[in-house]
Symmetry: C2
Subunit: 510 residues, 2 copies
């Protein structure tokens, strides 16, 4: 460490020089795939108790309503079909299928720079959901969401460093036909960003067309199967402990078509799952373990994300309370279960119950986002832009969410402890005959790049500067950035020849 | 667990009946003094390395600028005074004084219901700071803070369940005379709330008068010494590694007067502390260990809070960034150091850089508040109402902060795992011949009281209900509550005879 005995103005000039150069990717202080895990909402013993309870649930209660194809697949694999129509799974069968399940998977982007490595406690944040409204933040209004809104969200997400994937966050309500909806959802997401995208095919009859479109966008089926840049979110269960027949049929088609699946169990603690947080986790784990049996009975090692997404309701009213502390704990606990199984996992965090991007939205979005990251959750779904307990999506909030997630990533990165960072020599130089402060110290300038995250919209000015800047409004700033992003060329557009070909084959409405 | 096979409407009626009864204190889902500790930003080895580095710093670099009285006290205890005027402390001396230091202390309220037990990882949230402005949230304006503002903050804090103590959060700028300021600060805090209060005496000459006022409010010196309801925040160091001469003299007077002290080390990482987070923690720990030597050399076992409050600056501008992820990590790391020493500890969290109670304020205030709680920090200072990097205090934000802290407390409470909460029997009953949902289940209703925190201002309505409610504004709601609280009688007023006596003896301006 070199002590530059510059005066403060010299330090300021140096800092200015440093920050005028954009940071290289490899020294950015935060990025997707950083490793969390310092938060353990559950003890090791509690994790084991939840696992054992889930095994008991699968062995003794099992799941109802599997489609005939699923019953055949799972019974052939060793599941027992009871007289009550429920499929039950022995602990041995579950353990056997866990042995076959895909681990350390990669979710591919259309561009390799956006590949997601879902191993260990690596954390990635992205959008998700099925909001049916767009939030007009400045007009304080809700309106139906459209295909254009979805495409704009994809284009915005493409420009935000801390949004690592784009699962479709809202439903294009201007497309009442389900096949057109499914195809255009895929097209809008996949041509708005080159990051990994997630979709959710609405019915089994649409699966092949969607696979065909994905193949076409990838340049052929082989190319897609080599680097599938789309995963499908399957709400394959209707909690408590029932398979969702149609969604299972979609899932079977996706597996055979080479598309990674998200095994999504979205029980509501207090309504469709036990009101106790532990019970809600047990049920979600049991359901996803059944999903692991299902997937690996079809295709051993097919990439599947263990999607325990327990939600929580406000027990006074029955309303969902996605922004609550209970929700943050459920998600944090689930992350530990994923790590216990060594499986790639995902859950929901970062959404708000507030209708607008206000202070409530800020505290709710940060609470679960930071706890999910600290817990080492591989895939943090719904992490930005979601309001009204998942009923509304807001572009300005998506943009501000990039700041929130950057901060959450900084927190999960933790405190680096080395001989150098302990800084004894720096203290000695500064205090014993040195300048008595660390402002111009070379180490300080170096740390500016590697240790500190700077918000894009978060305002750190003094009250005086803030007044001189005409008291900038956070939401107005996000809107201006949105307009600037949407005025830029779309980096994810397909090449024109391919795009023409796709438009000739599929009813693209964008 | 009993399964009530009621229809949903029956469950709703039961829920309504339950929530119409106020919760008894012993079943409230969250309260002050709950135990955190599931977040470990530092590994055990890292904690030890920081401790050893701090010992090296004290032994080799030491601290400058102790007052003559402090030099005498600490040299008599075994510290070495160097030719350079710095006091150095051997590891053996530090360990010896750690053996004498007070542990498991109680910070008393004027009412015993508000006593704070600072043992283990018990967490309490409260205000603190020295803001010089009041934030007019709806008018988007800053103005100088006054004694009335401070008194109002105390009265508001008295009515907020999740504000567990009131350290004076702002400076009464309408009192230019320091003695009047000190006396009226103490009076305004101590007659606005019966919770434990913290003050910060500005100069040594004022210490005895403040002690006399505290004794008078308590009903006599013996009564105060038995249950000191006031602690004094001592910025006893000017980092890096210098004693603050006058503040040390105040501290000596407080110790002799029976007032607990907060040993506050407030370095700024990147300016008055190393830019590395680990280095900033080392320096703060070293400074507070010097404080432990100082306090226990005067009065072994005198109650002192280990106040490592490292702050952080935005290295681009030199501005403080109290709302950053770096700040949350510093505070979380410090909580672990307090636990390593087994000492009562405090640090700063929950403040925002934003000028207004907007979305940025929400995400910043939650980030460090929840991480401080999860880390098991005994005293979370600055936890509500603080804006503009500690330069502004906002009553509406204080009120909304009660919701934020309630949620943070729910998070640190964690996930209860027992045979009952694992809920296997509930799943069996609900799924196998039962109603297929958990809405009317007796367990669900019971959990409503003990497991779930309900925000006062946080809005969970659907977009439709929200529109029907005329789209309520969060800040306007907080302002209405502020006005309602300030219209209530003050529960903390002294009895009239005592109050008259105090007003006769001291220049009370309120």
């Amino acid at each position: 460490m070199t002590l530059t005995q510059s005066r403060r103005s010299g330090g300021r000039a140096a800092r200015h020089a440093l920050r005028s150069a954009p940071l290289a990717e490899n020294v950015r202080p935060v990025r997707g795939g950083m490793t969390g895990g310092t938060l353990k909402a559950l003890s090791d013993d509690e994790v084991l108790r939840i696992h054992k309870a889930a095994l008991t649930v699968l062995d003794e209660i099992g799941l109802a309503d599997a489609p005939p194809s699923g019953i055949e697949i799972m019974v052939n694999a060793g599941a027992r079909l009871g007289d009550d129509g429920r499929l039950r799974f022995s602990p041995a069968l579950v353990e056997d299928m866990l042995g076959k399940a895909a681990r350390n998977i990669t979710l591919y982007g259309r561009e390799p720079a956006h590949d997601l490595n879902l191993s260990e406690n690596r954390v990635h944040y992205g959008t998700a959901g099925a909001a049916v409204n767009m939030v007009d933040a400045e007009g304080r209004n809700y309106r139906h969401s459209t295909l254009q809104d979805l495409y704009d969200a994809a284009r915005i997400a493409d420009r935000l460093d801390n949004i690592h994937f784009l699962q479709r966050p809202m439903v294009a309500r201007d497309l009442p036909d389900n096949l057109e909806l499914d195809l255009n959802t895929l097209y809008a997401c996949g041509t708005g960003t080159t990051k990994h995208i997630g979709t959710s095919i609405t019915e089994p009859a649409n699966a092949q067309a969607c696979l065909d479109l994905a193949y076409a966008m990838a340049g052929g089926e082989d190319a897609f199967r080599a680097r599938p840049f789309v995963s499908n979110s399957n709400c394959f269960v209707v909690p408590p402990l029932k398979f969702a027949t149609e969604s299972c049929q979609v899932m079977e088609a996706c597996i055979r078509g080479g598309m990674p699946v998200l095994l999504l169990s979205a029980g509501m603690a207090g309504a469709t799952a036990p009101a106790t947080l532990a019970g809600a986790v047990v049920q979600a784990v049991a359901e996803c373990l059944a999903g692991i049996v299902y997937v690996n009975a079809i295709q051993p090692g097919h990439p599947a994300i263990f999607g325990t997404w327990p939600f929580v309701v406000d027990l006074r009213t029955g309303a969902m309370s996605i922004g609550s502390g209970e929700q943050a704990l459920l998600t944090a606990g689930c992350a530990q279960m994923h790590q216990f199984y060594g499986l790639p996992g995902g859950a929901a965090a970062g959404a708000s119950d507030s209708k607008l991007p206000d202070m409530q939205a800020g505290w709710e979005q940060m609470c679960s986002n930071v706890m999910a990251g600290l817990s080492g959750l591989n895939m943090v779904y719904e992490a930005a832009g979601m309001h009204a307990s998942l009923l509304g999506f807001c572009h300005e909030s998506l943009i501000l969410g990039d700041d929130i997630i950057g901060q959450a990533l900084r927190c999960l990165k933790g405190i680096e402890v080395t001989d150098e960072t302990l800084a004894i020599e720096a203290m000695r130089e500064v205090c014993m005959g040195g300048p008595g402060h660390y402002l111009g110290v070379g180490e300080t300038l170096a740390r500016m790049e590697t240790d500190y995250v700077y918000p894009f919209h978060g305002d750190r000015t003094s009250p005086k500067e803030w007044e001189e800047n005409d008291k900038p409004d956070l939401i107005a700033g996000a809107r201006a950035r949105k307009e600037a992003i949407l005025a830029m060329p779309c980096r994810a557009a397909l090449n024109p020849a391919l795009d023409r070909e796709i438009r000739a084959r599929f009813p693209i409405k964008l």
